[in-house]
Amino acid sequence: MSQRVLIVEDQEDNRAILRDLLSSAGYDFIEATNGEEGVALAESERPDLILMDIQLPVMDGYEATRRIKANAALRSIPIIAVTSYALSGDEAKAQDAGCDAYVAKPFSPRQLLAKIREYLLPGA
């Protein structure tokens, strides 16, 4: 069984890129388009890793990350923050919220995959 990544991303194009990237690398994935949905899916599906966009409708990525990390059952799931806020201090904010890693948008798919592979076993 291949490992499963939860993509929390409101932009369809970005989701498509991530889908293509992850499937090409042999990972399963599930998708959420806002923070609330992301938290719900994390609880229900228990993914192996979460790619968390920060700017999201309904609930932003920081809040969603805090909630997931607040849940003891989900705390071990690594969360990689993906944000286009390239302001200094974003990284710190992401860490404060509980993110395990940080990737700035626009991300290089290659570099993102390398980051994912730091937390997951290689895909099938």
């Binding site: 932009q11 970005n14 286009s84 200094s88 201090g89 798919p109």
Partner: protein
């Protein structure tokens, strides 16, 4: 004589003592006067008490001075008179007495001489030649006759030429004839034979009667000598008869100075020798030497001082002296002296009395004058000196009174003037203080209400106003509204507010504003009615001053002060109110300007916030599509969507490259906007400059290799760690190295890093075309690019160096370039190891 001299000396001493004391007194007075005038000159006006005491001393001194002067004057003239009188009367008396004495002496001498000559003549006659034979008897008869004729002759002896006594006829003894006694060796014989005539020294018979032997030789050869014994009692009689005064005596001394005749026969009998008496000795000397001076005053044998005169008896070589005791001789002089002294004493006493009286007469009014002047001087200006002396002193007193009166007048006016000036001064000070106070308020606060509330009470107080108000004018509505009030009842305020004063009514506020000048109503009760007049009268307002608040002739408001009493406002009050009005206008304008400024800055702040927000949003919105472009192109490159043909691969690479360029542009714009908004925050951490250099080399070596450029780095050993934002410092170096590679077509790019004096120095050296001097300064400006034709080819935002400069400066460092066209360029930057300010901020 000595007594006289000593008396004269005593007189002189008395006179000198008298004069001396007067002189000393005068000296003391003069000294005191000099002291006083000197003190006055030196100290100017001296304290009155001191002056008074000095003056009273002065007055006493004046009294003594006058008295002493009069005494000295009268006494001195009397004394001089007496002395002169005495001097002359003494001299004259003495001369007169001496002359009398001399006359008497001469008289006595001539009588005596006469007597001696007579005797001599008679004896000579008896000595005459006798015819031979008539012989001795005849001579004897002659001798008898001689004895009868000359009672003074007591004995006559005839001695023949051989010295034998032939006849001796005596009244007292038996005649002796031809005794033959040899008398040839007797001096009387020898001397008579030799000199024809001989006078023996005086001798005494029975120790009581003086005798003289007279021997005369006869004529012819071997003539005899007649010797007569002459009783000198006659001389004694002569001398005794001479009367000079009461105690004066005449006496005769012989050529040896022996006394031969003196009223006191005892003296003669004792053979008193007077040759030691100076006048006698000198008189004897004078007989031989006429040039000798004989004093007229000497001492007699008793040692008494005598006035003396003498006359010689030339035949005998004797001297007749007439002595008079000086005490008696000068008795008249002494009497005169005594009278003079008495007169002098009387004169002095009179002078003292007259002096005291005169001085009193003179000094008493002067004292009264001085006392009065002192009283006036001490401030009793009402005091008047009572003086009816009818002389200059009264004139002086009148002048003093006049002066007192004038002083009083001028004091009165002076006091009034001082009071006035003091009041004016304190008013001015008060006004100044108020203005300063208001000015300070104006400077310290921009709050309009505070300023107006500070101004109005000052204005009302200084204008003696019971109430006042400041209105502000609204240009739009043309209404005046109450901005501040003072001393107004709520009802009054309400009435004013309801009146809605505006530019169309004719209230004082409006009138003054329209005229752009101060207006005043001196008595509202006398004015014709206008809407607010009743309300003002109700509020106890009788006079009113309206000052418009103007700014460049623009109406800003009005200042009103109101008084409860009728009357005009003083010009200086009006000036002051204008000052307050202009301050109020200034305050209102300041407040309005400040309000505008505040509004505008608030707008600016909002705009700035909007800009930042916009940039953040823009950044995000631009990145999102870029993410897709870059992501897809990368996936395509990686062959995720199937193998790409050679041409397609090239296109995808171009898409990728342009996308990245766009991303850089966006990042740069974002950085710059953050820097400008002061939002760029450094994350200060320890960093290694060596690592920075290595990382930049790694990141750019592919670019350099693509252009066949040599990229080298020289980093000093043992560089310490710095404190700073490593990512931003890397950004700076990356920018410099990127530029160097971009603009250098051949050669090398060298990175040199060193550390000294707590500063990192980094230089990027290239072998590019270099940069013209005039362009170097502008190089670090935003959106500036060297040689636009070239840069189009090279690409770049033109923001890199501007951002690099800001980052370096944020680290407390500096950045600059050294270059010459055609000789490459060296970009330097220095960053302190520790950014103190930043660290503290973090």
């Amino acid at each position: 004589m000595t007594a006289l001299v000593s008396r004269m000396q005593a007189l002189a001493v008395l006179a000198s003592v008298l004069f001396g004391s007067v002189w000393r007194k005068a000296g003391t007075v003069w000294q005191r006067w000099r002291d006083i005038t000197f003190n006055i000159r030196r100290h100017g006006a001296r304290p009155l008490a001191k002056w008074r005491s000095a003056e009273s001393r002065q007055t006493g001194g004046l009294f003594r001075k006058y008295a002493a002067f009069l005494v000295a004057l009268v006494g001195g003239s009397l004394l001089i008179n007496a002395l002169v009188e005495m001097y002359y009367s003494y001299g004259e008396s003495r001369q007169a007495l001496n002359a009398v004495q001399r006359e008497k002496a001469v008289g006595a001498a001539s009588v005596i001489e006469q007597f001696v000559r007579e005797i001599e003549g008679q004896v000579g006659w008896a000595t005459g030649f006798l015819p031979t034979g008539s012989g001795l008897e005849q001579r004897r008869l002659d001798f008898f006759r001689l004895l009868r004729q000359a009672p003074a002759i007591t004995e006559v002896t005839y001695i023949d030429g051989d010295g034998r006594e032939q006849i001796k006829t005596s009244r007292l003894a038996m005649d002796t004839l031809a005794s033959g006694a040899d008398l040839s060796n007797e001096p009387k014989f020898a001397n008579a034979k030799a000199n024809k005539r001989y006078f023996s020294p005086v001798y005494y018979r029975k120790e009581s009667e003086p005798y003289l032997t007279l021997a005369i030789a006869g004529a012819g050869r071997n003539a005899g000598v007649t010797v007569a014994e002459v009783n000198l009692k006659f001389i004694w009689d002569v001398v005794s008869r001479i009367k000079v005064g009461t105690a004066g005596v005449a006496y005769v001394v012989d050529e040896r100075g022996l006394l031969i005749a003196h009223p006191d026969i005892g003296l003669v009998l004792r053979k008193t020798d007077l040759s030691q008496q100076p006048h006698v000795a000198l008189a004897l000397k004078k007989l031989r030497d006429p040039s000798v001076d004989v004093p007229t005053i000497s001492h007699n044998h008793l040692g008494r001082e005598v006035l003396t005169a003498f006359a010689p008896i030339s035949t005998l070589g004797w001297l007749v002296f007439v002595d008079l005791p000086v005490s008696e001789a000068l008795q008249p002089v002494y009497d005169s002296l005594r009278r003079t002294i008495i007169l002098l004493a009387l004169g002095l006493a009179f002078a003292v009395l007259a002096g005291v009286w005169l001085a009193q007469r003179m000094v008493v009014p002067i004292r009264a004058l001085a006392k009065g002047a002192a009283r006036i001087g001490s401030g009793d200006l009402d005091h008047r000196i009572e003086m009816q002396s009818g002389d200059e002193v009264q004139i002086l007193a009148d002048s003093f009174n006049d002066m007192g009166a004038r002083l009083k007048d001028s004091y009165a006016t002076l006091e009034q003037k001082v009071t006035d000036r003091t009041r004016e001064l304190s008013q001015a000070l008060d006004q100044l203080r108020a203005l300063v106070d208001v000015g300070q308020t104006l400077n310290s606060t921009l709050e309009l209400q505070a300023v107006l509330t500070a101004i109005l009470p000052h204005a009302c107080r200084l204008a003696n106003a019971t109430s006042g108000a400041i209105y502000t004018f609204d240009d739009a509505t043309e209404n005046f509204s109450l901005a501040a009030t003072h001393g107004m009842s709520p009802e009054f305020i309400a009435t004013i507010r309801q009146a809605h004063i505006n530019l169309r009514d004719d209230s004082p506020v409006t009138q003054s504003a329209l005229r752009r000048g101060v207006l005043q109503w001196n008595d509202l009760a006398a004015e014709s009615a206008w809407p607010l007049r009743e309300a003002l009268l109700m509020a106890d307002v009788r006079a009113l001053l309206a000052v418009p608040l103007l700014r460049d002739e623009r109406i800003i408001g009005a200042l009103i002060v109101r008084r409860a009493h009728a009357g005009a406002f003083e010009p200086d009050i009006i000036n002051l109110m204008q000052s307050f009005a202009s301050q109020s206008a200034l305050a209102i304008q300041n407040a309005r300007l400040f309000q505008e400024l505040e509004d505008k800055s608030r707008l600016l702040e909002v705009a700035s916030q909007h800009k930042s927000q916009f940039l953040a949003n823009m950044s995000h919105e631009l990145r999102t599509p870029l993410n897709a472009i870059l992501g897809y192109s990368e996936l395509m490159q990686d062959g995720l969507y199937g193998e790409l043909s050679g041409k397609m691969r090239g296109i995808v690479e171009r898409v990728q490259a342009n996308g990245k360029h766009l991303l850089n542009l966006i990042n740069d714009v974002l950085d710059l906007s953050k820097i400008e908004a002061g939002q760029l925050e450094l994350s200060i951490d320890p960093y290694s400059m060596k690592n920075v250099v290595q990382m930049v080399v790694l990141a750019t070596e592919s670019l350099a290799a693509a252009k066949k450029l040599r990229l080298t780095s020289e980093v000093s050993e043992n560089m310490p760690l710095g404190q700073g934002d490593e990512r931003r410092i890397s950004q700076v170096l990356l920018n410099l190295v990127g530029n160097a590679i971009k603009f250098t077509d051949s050669g090398e790019v060298r990175i040199v890093a060193s550390a000294a004096n707590d500063v990192f120095s980094v230089a990027v050296v290239d072998t590019g075309p270099g940069i013209a001097k005039q362009e170097q300064a502008r190089l670090f400006h935003e959106f500036y690019q060297v040689d636009s034709s070239n840069t189009k080819e090279k690409g770049g935002t033109g923001l890199g160096l501007a951002i690099a400069k800001r980052i370096v400066e944020l680290h407390g460092g500096r950045i600059w370039v050294e270059s010459e066209l055609g000789k490459g360029a060296i970009f330097h930057f220095e960053i302190p190891f520790r950014n103190q300010q930043r660290e503290e901020a973090v």
